[in-house]
């Protein structure tokens, strides 16, 4: 029954996509699509959530679709149900936001049909249980999101972003295709059940792991496969950016977990290293990119790369622990990864919604042209602030709880017997610590430049608060972020069945602990209580504030800015986003980004302005992608002469082909 509800919900979403095309001219199309989308994703959310919370046994269903002699298999287990919750929570919020945002978005008729299809595609990926249907849904999801990326198709940059995205997505799909090919074996047993039953040799397993990392990692935005992400995610309309960055990357995480933890069988210890190294690199590189970027949505997209890095590090730890038989530690790491995925989905959606609201209100995403929005858009500013605090992993919000769990898992690594892991894990831990604090810097900059200070442009100074639906969506997510941070134990307990089925153990049950603390291993080892910390902070700031207000002056005088007596009237003299990140750029820029600065000083006595330019280059793009593109283009150029040969030369080709084949035959016999 739940399976039927889920599949019919997905089918209804697909139908909705068609309806959106049919009614694209109607005035009510936006209401229809997002309203119905909201209801349907809520339905899916409830079904998935109930399945997860009730710890129900896995459900399976097959339909006579897809590969003819295999059929389309669907399966709902705890892992799927959890990701169904993430996806549909995100989808419901995006639809709610879309109810308002969709009214004033550009090119609505190019967006509406694809949004329900996108949601349906992501849901399908989670439910499928055979390779063909999985890849079909996977690539369908990519394709629909590609269509959403190129919505504003008149901008050449958007089209280029779409191109890079689709190409990387297709590469990823091929990698997964090859991985499934290996798992399925020569007889073509494409069902997940058969793959689970079959044991692959270690070398094949390693190859599968590599391919999965390429395939799903490119979708998740793992460095060095991330290049498309900061282009494509921001190019889409904001609620779609939110879905892509917040939710679709989680579907990629799902794919990694499903294949590596579920289908691949017993792991080898060094598999963890692959995930750890890539995850650590993504975490650091992602946040550094984000720090040097001034486009709001690109900052958010890069920050997704960072968080994906965290998730992959946790997954790598889980894999290593599992390979060495430390089931409890593996359960901790896996739970941390899943919990972080959940938190990041919420926070990233929230922030993209905010960026969308800002973009709509001011017409720009460039932080150098924003400022002071906290006065014009107070509610949005508040929600984004919660998002920023959350994503910077500060207590008592949700992402802190999950990152805390990740650090706890790292601290368990001395028990691992292999030297490689022993040495690597602390180093990765240091990377993560660096990434966390850089993220805090990044989001201070993000919030400070956009919402604080004085408006840096006309548009920013006349901004208006966004519509009610958008605000409702943001408030909802902000509330969830707070609740998730205060009551992490609830989520951790809900994740128990997943880690039981994947690594054989689950974390200690948290719900029964006093004061709703979370305890990963044992209370004497470490514990954290978000609720209590929150109560302490609230109480003590309340006490201080009221004490001061009672015993001291309550008067407030308004005056011009003091600024040490040097009151500048020009908002352009404020600290800018790029000057904010300058100290950090000095530290990391020259090594990781080949940063060069150019100062152009006018001669003495000239009134021309001095110019200062910073060049940052994406090292990975320059060293990896540019050469590959160059090779393809060179080959294409070289081969192109074959279009312009004379007939005689074509005949010579035929002749040569014949003679060489005959020679082969002569030699063969």
């Amino acid at each position: 029954m739940p399976m039927f509800l889920l599949l019919s919900g997905i089918a209804a979403l697909l139908l909705l996509a068609i309806l959106a095309v049919v009614f694209s001219g109607s005035r009510f199309a936006t209401r229809l699509v997002y309203g119905a989308g909201l209801l349907l994703s809520l339905e899916l959310l409830v079904v998935g959530g109930l399945h997860l919370l009730c710890d129900a046994p896995p459900l399976a269903l097959s339909l006579p679709l897809g590969l003819p002699w295999i059929g389309a298999h669907f399966r709902l287990d705890a892992l799927s149900a959890f990701f169904v919750v993430i996806v549909n929570l995100g989808a419901a919020a995006a639809c709610l936001y879309g109810l308002g945002y969709g009214q004033h978005a550009e090119e609505p008729s190019r967006v509406r049909p694809f949004v329900p299809a996108f949601i349906a595609g992501m849901n399908l990926v989670l439910l499928t249980a055979d390779a063909f249907t999985f890849l079909l849904s996977w690539e369908f999801m990519s394709l629909v999101s590609w269509a959403l990326v190129v919505v504003e198709h008149r901008d050449p940059r958007t089209v280029r972003a779409g191109y890079t995205y689709a190409l990387m997505a297709s590469l990823g799909t091929f990698a997964l295709l090859l991985a499934f090919g290996l798992l399925a074996g020569p007889n073509g047993s494409y069902g997940f059940a058969a793959m689970r039953a079959a044991q692959v040799s270690p070398s094949v397993g390693a190859l599968v792991l590599g391919l999965v990392v390429i395939g799903a990692g490119s979708k998740a935005g793992l460095v060095p496969l991330h290049v498309w992400l900061p282009e494509a995610h921001p190019a889409a309309p904001s609620h779609v950016s939110a879905l892509m960055s917040g939710v679709m990357t989680k579907v990629a995480v799902y794919a990694v977990i499903r294949i590596v933890f579920d289908l691949l069988g017993t792991p080898h210890w060094w598999w963890g290293i692959v995930l750890l190294v890539l995850g650590g690199a993504s975490a650091l590189m992602g946040v550094l990119y984000a720090l040097f970027e001034s486009d709001q949505k690109r900052v958010l997209a890069y920050s997704s790369i960072e968080n994906i890095g965290f998730i992959f590090v946790a997954l790598g730890l889980a894999l290593a622990f599992r390979a060495d038989g430390f089931q409890a530690a593996a359960a901790l790491a896996l739970t941390a990864a899943l919990f972080h995925a959940f938190n990041h989905a919420i926070l990233k959606e929230l922030q993209f919604f905010g960026a969308g609201a800002v973009q709509h209100a001011t017409g720009t995403r460039d932080m150098e042209r924003l400022g002071g929005l906290i006065h014009r858009m107070p509610v949005t500013a508040f929600c984004i602030l919660i998002g920023c605090v959350g994503i910077a992993a500060l207590p008592p919000l949700n992402a802190f709880a999950s990152e805390w769990l990740i650090f706890q898992a790292i601290l368990l690594s001395p028990s691992l017997p292999q030297w490689g892991l022993k040495l690597l894990v602390p180093a990765v831990g240091a990377l993560l610590a660096l990434a966390v604090t850089l993220a805090a810097a990044c989001f201070v900059r993000f919030f400070g430049m956009s919402f604080l200070g004085r408006p840096r442009s006309e548009a920013a100074s006349c901004a208006e608060e966004t519509d009610g639906f958008s605000l409702a969506a943001m408030l909802l997510l902000a509330g969830l972020a707070v609740v998730g941070g205060l009551l992490p134990g609830v989520v951790i307990d809900a994740l128990g069945p997943i880690s039981t089925s994947l690594v054989g153990r689950h974390m200690p049950v948290q719900a029964s602990l006093p004061w709703l603390s979370i305890v990963p291993i044992a209370a004497s080892r470490s514990s954290y209580n978000g609720l209590l910390v929150f109560i302490f902070i609230a109480a003590s700031s309340g006490i201080v504030a009221s004490a001061i207000h009672v015993f001291a002056s309550r008067r407030i005088r308004r005056a011009p800015i003091w600024d040490c007596g040097y009151a500048d009237t020009n908002p352009a003299l404020q600290y800018s986003a790029s000057s904010f990140s300058e100290p950090i750029r000095r530290v990391f820029g020259p090594i990781l980004f080949l940063a060069r600065t150019e100062v152009e000083m006018p001669p003495v006595g000239s009134v021309a302005p001095a110019k200062f330019k910073v060049h940052l280059e994406d090292l990975i793009w320059q060293r990896l992608y540019v050469p590959v593109t160059g090779i393809v283009m060179t080959i294409a150029d070289r081969l192109n002469v074959f279009q312009f040969l004379t007939i005689r030369r074509y005949l010579s080709l035929v002749f040569l082909a014949l003679v060489s084949l005959l020679l082969v035959l002569a030699l063969w016999s």
Binding site: P64, L65, G66, L67, P68, W69, A72, R110, A131, F132, L135, L136, E139, F140, L143, V150, H153, R154, P156, V159, G162, Y163, A166, L167, S170, L171, F174, L177, L178, F180, G181, L182, A184, G185, P186, G188, Y190, V632, M633, I635, A636, D637, L639, N640, F642, Q643, L645, I647, Y650, L651, L653, V654, L656, A657, L658, L661, L662, L665, W668, S669
Partner: protein, 482 residues
């Protein structure tokens, strides 16, 4: 009804022949366009009736699981293309690119071509098959040159010369097969009858068969557009009328492929002969990779898709070269889907070229904005041809890549490389054509929606659901192909 079932093979052949005859005599072009459609429809219906029942194999006619798929596909695409050409040719007449006299010729030649292809698919004699394929080829040569522009004439000339060499090779290969069969089967017709040849193939002189296969592969491969004997294909597609491009890509290539498959089956029965697999794999991969890179520098939209046809023929030949139930199934499916998709793309491209008055990619931009129907159909079509789900080619490429990777990982890597490179090029062009600021003429055009939607609809359905009947057929054929 029983009469129909008894004579359906004869009908499939006589309807186009008679229609061709009538069309040469008929003056009015509107009427002849309708007659063309009617003839094609009747042929298609007759072909459909083959499902209900068909005569047993005799020395001249053979209907088995392999060719029934080809025939039905052939007549179906023939029918939809005739529908498309009705509106397309009307426009050409209005713009003065063609005169009524040429139109009469065009319609007659269309049916001659259909006759040739149907005959090639149905006969049970390798000599007749050869002759029928040549008939169809020569008919298309004439059609390619019908615009009589410099480019069209050059394309037709190139096509003619290269095809003639292919003809010669194929005939020589056929003679060699006969020679190989002679000592075993005896003189005369029997030594050319396909069913007899197949049953005795294991006793044939293996090395003679090997030489024969090389000639047949190159000879029919010329028709199928395999690199390095492909050179006629891009220009013939680009310069001829678009319905002919659709038929060339959708049908003639298949018929040539059919011939190659028949001989491959023969080779498979004779274990001492050279194994056809590696040859086909090599030619297929070369075609795929070559065409994939060639796609990047194309400026003419029809030539672009012509190279994509070469690419797909490469994939299909590769699949059959790999052999085994999965790869063969993939090959058959890929072939079917490619026919449907590529002809649909050419329908769309034909209308686009008419709407914009140009085939140059640089002149076409922002189609989804200026002509949403055409633009989005093109998007779907190109995504389908690039193997994106949920469209049919995805399924075949899925099967092919997975099964190849397990059996020969290196080949699969090359295959994936080719597919990715090709996708990159196709997508690059698709985006510039479908998106961006609309350029040039934006006036609406009359679009024959039915053929486009019928093809794309079938492709979309096949991507998620294949009817068990079709699957059964394909599987049986896969086993036949070995």
């Amino acid at each position: 009804m029983s009469w129909l079932l008894g004579h359906n093979v004869a009908l499939i052949l006589t309807i186009p022949a008679v229609t061709a005859l009538v069309l040469t005599l008929l003056p009015g072009y509107r009427l002849s366009a309708k007659l063309n459609v009617a003839g094609s429809l009747l042929t298609f219906l007759a072909a459909l009736s083959l499902f209900a029942g068909h005569p047993p194999a005799d020395p001249f006619v053979l209907v088995d699981d392999l060719n029934i798929v080809f025939i039905v596909l052939n007549t179906f695409v023939g029918f939809t293309t005739s529908l498309f050409s009705m509106s397309y040719i009307g426009h050409e007449l209005e713009t003065g690119r063609l005169t009524p006299t040429y139109l009469r010729f065009y319609h007659a030649m269309y049916q001659v071509m259909m006759f040739g292809m149907n005959l090639a698919l149905l006969v049970n004699n390798i000599g007749l098959m050869w002759a029928a394929i040549e008939l169809a080829t020569l008919a298309t040569v004439l059609m390619v040159g019908i615009y009589r522009t410099h480019e069209a004439l050059e394309a037709a000339w190139k096509y003619f010369i290269l095809a003639s060499v292919g003809i010669a090779f194929a005939l020589f290969g056929t003679i060699l097969v006969y020679m190989a069969a002679l000592p075993v089967v005896g003189e005369g017709l029997k030594a050319m009858t396909w069913t007899v040849l197949l049953s005795k193939a294991s006793e044939f002189e293996p090395s003679l068969l090997s030489v024969a296969f090389i000639f047949l592969l190159l000879g029919y491969g010329t028709k199928a557009g395999l690199v390095p004997v492909h050179a006629w294909l891009p220009d013939a597609h680009a310069e001829g009328p678009t319905p002919i491009s659709a038929v060339l890509s959708g049908l003639l290539l298949n018929v040539a492929l059919y011939a190659i498959l028949r001989f491959k089956m023969l080779m498979a029965r004779n274990h001492a002969a050279i194994s056809p697999g590696p040859l086909m794999i090599a030619l297929g991969l070369v075609s795929l990779l070559f065409a994939a890179f060639m796609l990047y520098r194309r400026r003419d939209i029809k030539r672009l898709f012509a190279y994509s046809s070469i690419e797909h023929m490469g994939i299909i030949v590769f699949a059959f070269g790999m052999g085994g139930p999965l790869a063969n199934f993939a090959g058959l499916l890929q072939m079917t889907m490619h026919s449907l998709t590529k002809s649909a793309i050419f329908f769309v491209v034909g209308h686009i070229a008419q709407a914009k008055g140009s085939q140059k990619i640089a002149d076409i931009q922002g189609l989804t904005q200026s002509h949403p129907l055409l633009g989005w159909s093109l998007v779907v079509g190109v995504l389908a041809i690039a193997g994106m789900p949920p469209l049919g080619i995805f399924m075949s490429e899925f099967l092919l890549v997975t099964t190849t990777f397990v059996r020969a990982p290196l080949l699969a890597v090359l295959l994936v490389l080719g597919l990715t490179v090709a996708f990159g090029a196709l997508l690059l062009r698709l985006q510039s054509v479908a998106f961006g600021m609309p350029q040039g003429k934006v006036a609406p055009v009359r679009v024959s929606v039915l053929p486009i939607f019928a093809h794309l609809g079938l492709v979309a359905i096949a991507g998620v659901y294949l009817s068990p009947m079709l699957v059964h057929w394909f599987q049986h054929v896969s086993i036949m192909l070995g």
